[in-house]
């Protein structure tokens, strides 16, 4: 690609300016940041109190019952795991594809992956009720004479999520090392500099370090890439491996993966649009980057729409009365509002991105991303709850609705995610200094910093 092409799209700045602008985001927070942080604390407090109440009272504090034994907690678990996928796609897959629009946004997206997966990981524990028994699932020699059942998709989930969190953390940290070194070198002597020196592992950017670092980075990206497909496939198999109508279908794995990327990209847009304004990074995170994400959002929304349509067709085609019943119940039954909100937000709303004008409009991008986030939560709720509420035998049908405790925990999870993200923005560089420099023209003779 020609350099003139890239500088037009990514902008042209000196390397020193890149350093200055990105490290400036680590300065003392302003009033907007502080207000949002306070809100997040409040939400986390609500979530914490709700969880404490749940542990004390028991699972009866939720709306879970027969037949709906999985509800908002599993919905939110799948939602947060899905959010994490965009970060890995942007940082790993787009790295391997050498997509130029990745450089300015992948660090923040990667961070959102880690925090999303960390948030998601709490929900199986919340759902367990008796949280202190969580260690039962771990494979270690124990006195119970019992090993985890490795034929169960729930155990596959434990492995998949653990692997995803670990690999994402490693990928994230290793990618950060040169930037931590840059921050270390700009920091004034004190505690901050000491911590940054420790975290930078003595990085000097010399030949030996860059040689192995760049090689390792490719392997991290290559290893993280199949995780984008496999992790949410494993999560989808929590449902598809059953025989529940509306759950047991072969399309679930790619359907969930596409949905995960859809929700993840939407969430990245949701926080990145205010981020670039508040931290004055519009010249680095440009409309070009947001447009590319809008296209990706549109593409994954089309795949999700395809899946919705194929499921309906096959239910009609197959003649399986249970499949037909559930696909009639969803758009017309007790949870019809959820179904139509899901279809509207996930399929129809993103179609606006076929128009360039919409892709260029910051407000449209922001509003669509929020609606897609809603739509994707509704999708998981629709799949999980409607299928359990309306299984094989009519005498076993029943309804579920969320209690205040569950709402509290749901909002608490959002507070937790954004709290971690806000903390990250102030502690570590939210845009990759080293890679943005790599994508800019090298300093030439006569350039002034």
């Amino acid at each position: 690609m020609s350099n003139s092409d890239m500088t037009e799209k990514l902008g042209k700045f000196s390397w020193a300016q890149v350093d200055r602008d990105i490290l400036a985001t680590l300065s003392r927070p302003g009033p907007v940041y502080t207000a949002v942080l306070a809100l997040c604390f409040i939400l986390v407090a609500i979530g914490g109190i709700s969880w404490a109440y749940l542990i004390k009272t028991g699972m009866g504090a939720t709306g879970l019952n027969n037949p709906v034994g999985w509800g908002s907690f599993i919905t939110t678990f799948v939602f947060w795991v899905g959010i994490g996928h965009a970060g890995t796609l942007i940082s790993a897959i787009l790295f391997l594809l050498r997509a130029p629009w990745r450089t300015a946004i992948f660090r923040a997206a990667e961070a959102s992956t880690i925090f999303a997966v960390a948030t998601a990981g709490m929900f199986p524990l919340i759902h367990l009720g008796r949280v202190w028994t969580a260690y039962y699932i771990l494979p270690y020699p124990n006195g119970r004479e019992l090993w985890p059942n490795f034929r169960s998709p729930l155990v596959w989930d434990v492995l998949a999520i653990t692997t995803y969190l670990t690999v994402s953390l490693i990928f994230f940290y290793v990618g950060l090392i040169p930037d931590i070194a840059a921050a270390r070198d700009r920091a004034k002597p004190g505690l901050r500099k000491t911590i940054l020196t420790f975290l930078s592992l003595g990085w000097m950017g010399n030949l030996q370090q860059w040689r192995h670092y760049l090689a390792a980075y490719v392997f991290f990206a290559a290893l993280a890439t199949p995780l984008v497909i496999s992790v949410h496939s494993v999560v989808s198999w929590d449902f598809a491996m059953s025989i529940v109508p509306g759950w047991h279908t072969t399309i679930f794995a790619p359907y969930f993966v596409a949905g995960a990327i859809l929700s993840g990209v939407a969430m990245v847009l949701t926080f990145m649009i205010p981020l670039r304004v508040v931290f004055r990074l519009q010249h680095l995170i440009r409309i070009y980057h947001l447009q590319a994400m809008a296209k990706l959002l549109l593409f994954t929304s089309l795949i999700v729409g395809y899946a919705y349509g194929i499921e309906l067709f096959i239910a009609w085609y197959s003649g399986n009365i249970f499949e037909q019943e559930i696909f009639l119940y969803r758009p017309t039954g007790d949870y019809a509002f959820i179904y139509w909100a899901m279809v509207t937000c996930n399929v129809f709303v993103p179609l606006v991105f076929f128009f360039k004008k919409a892709r260029n409009s910051i407000w449209t991008l922001f509003i669509v991303s929020i609606l897609v986030n809603f739509g994707m939560w509704f999708e998981r709720f629709n799949i999980i709850v409607s299928s359990l509420a309306h299984e094989f035998m009519p005498h076993g049908w029943g309804l579920y609705s969320m209690t205040l405790t569950e709402w509290g925990i749901l909002f608490g999870s959002f507070g937790w995610f954004f709290l971690l993200l806000l903390a990250f923005f102030k502690v570590l560089p939210s845009v990759s200094i080293a890679e943005v420099k790599e994508s800019m023209p090298h300093p030439k003779k006569g350039d002034k910093s």
Partner: protein, 182 residues
């Protein structure tokens, strides 16, 4: 080439990329040993000039991945045999569901092995930081080329750095006193 600590040599500080490249090229042509090069951002062109072989990180990654694959299947199969749990009408040790376990551990162990590899081969953590030649501006927008020289080729090394338009030239054995400033 492998990085080694040496107590002598000249460090050229460049504020432009082309100068660094020229210095490396001239040093290679003149048979002056390049001890190290410092870059604020990774550059494959520089690495290709210096190193003929690919990084050995890939061997550890591969070994880790294979270990993970075997460990995953071993964990699932052996634990199933130790305590038989006949569920769902499925055989106790059918490999089909264990593929997921094997796959996940392949990725996990491969990533962990790669992390170990980059730490070992990259010499991280580098306890003697900042070392003899490092300067904080090397993480900003400045490049460094450290040439090893004896008394015999010191002048040649200095000439190489000067002709490549080095902003500063330092004597490694006495970094506080810049020998030449361009």
């Amino acid at each position: 080439m492998s990085r080694r600590e040496t107590s002598q040599g000249l460090l050229g500080v460049f504020d432009h990329y082309d100068g660094m490249i020229e210095a490396i090229k001239n040093a290679q042509e003149s048979d002056v040993e390049i001890c190290d090069v410092f870059l604020p951002a990774g550059d494959h062109h520089v690495l290709d000039m210096i190193y003929k072989k690919r990084s050995p990180v890939r061997f550890l990654t591969f070994a880790g991945a294979i270990t993970g694959l075997i460990s995953g299947f071993a964990l699932a199969i052996l634990t199933s045999l130790v305590w038989n749990l006949v569920v769902g009408g499925k055989p106790v040790t059918n490999p089909i569901p264990f593929v997921v376990v094997g796959f996940e551990l392949t990725i996990l162990f491969g990533a962990l092995a790669t992390l170990v590899a980059v730490l070992i081969f990259g010499g991280l953590p580098f306890r003697k930081f900042p070392g003899k030649a490092y300067r904080p501006e090397f993480s900003l927008d400045t490049f460094g080329v450290w040439l090893s020289c004896t008394e015999g080729n010191r002048d040649m090394a200095r000439e190489i750095l000067k002709s490549a338009d080095a902003k500063e030239i330092h004597d490694i054995s006495d970094p506080a006193s810049p020998e030449v400033q361009s």
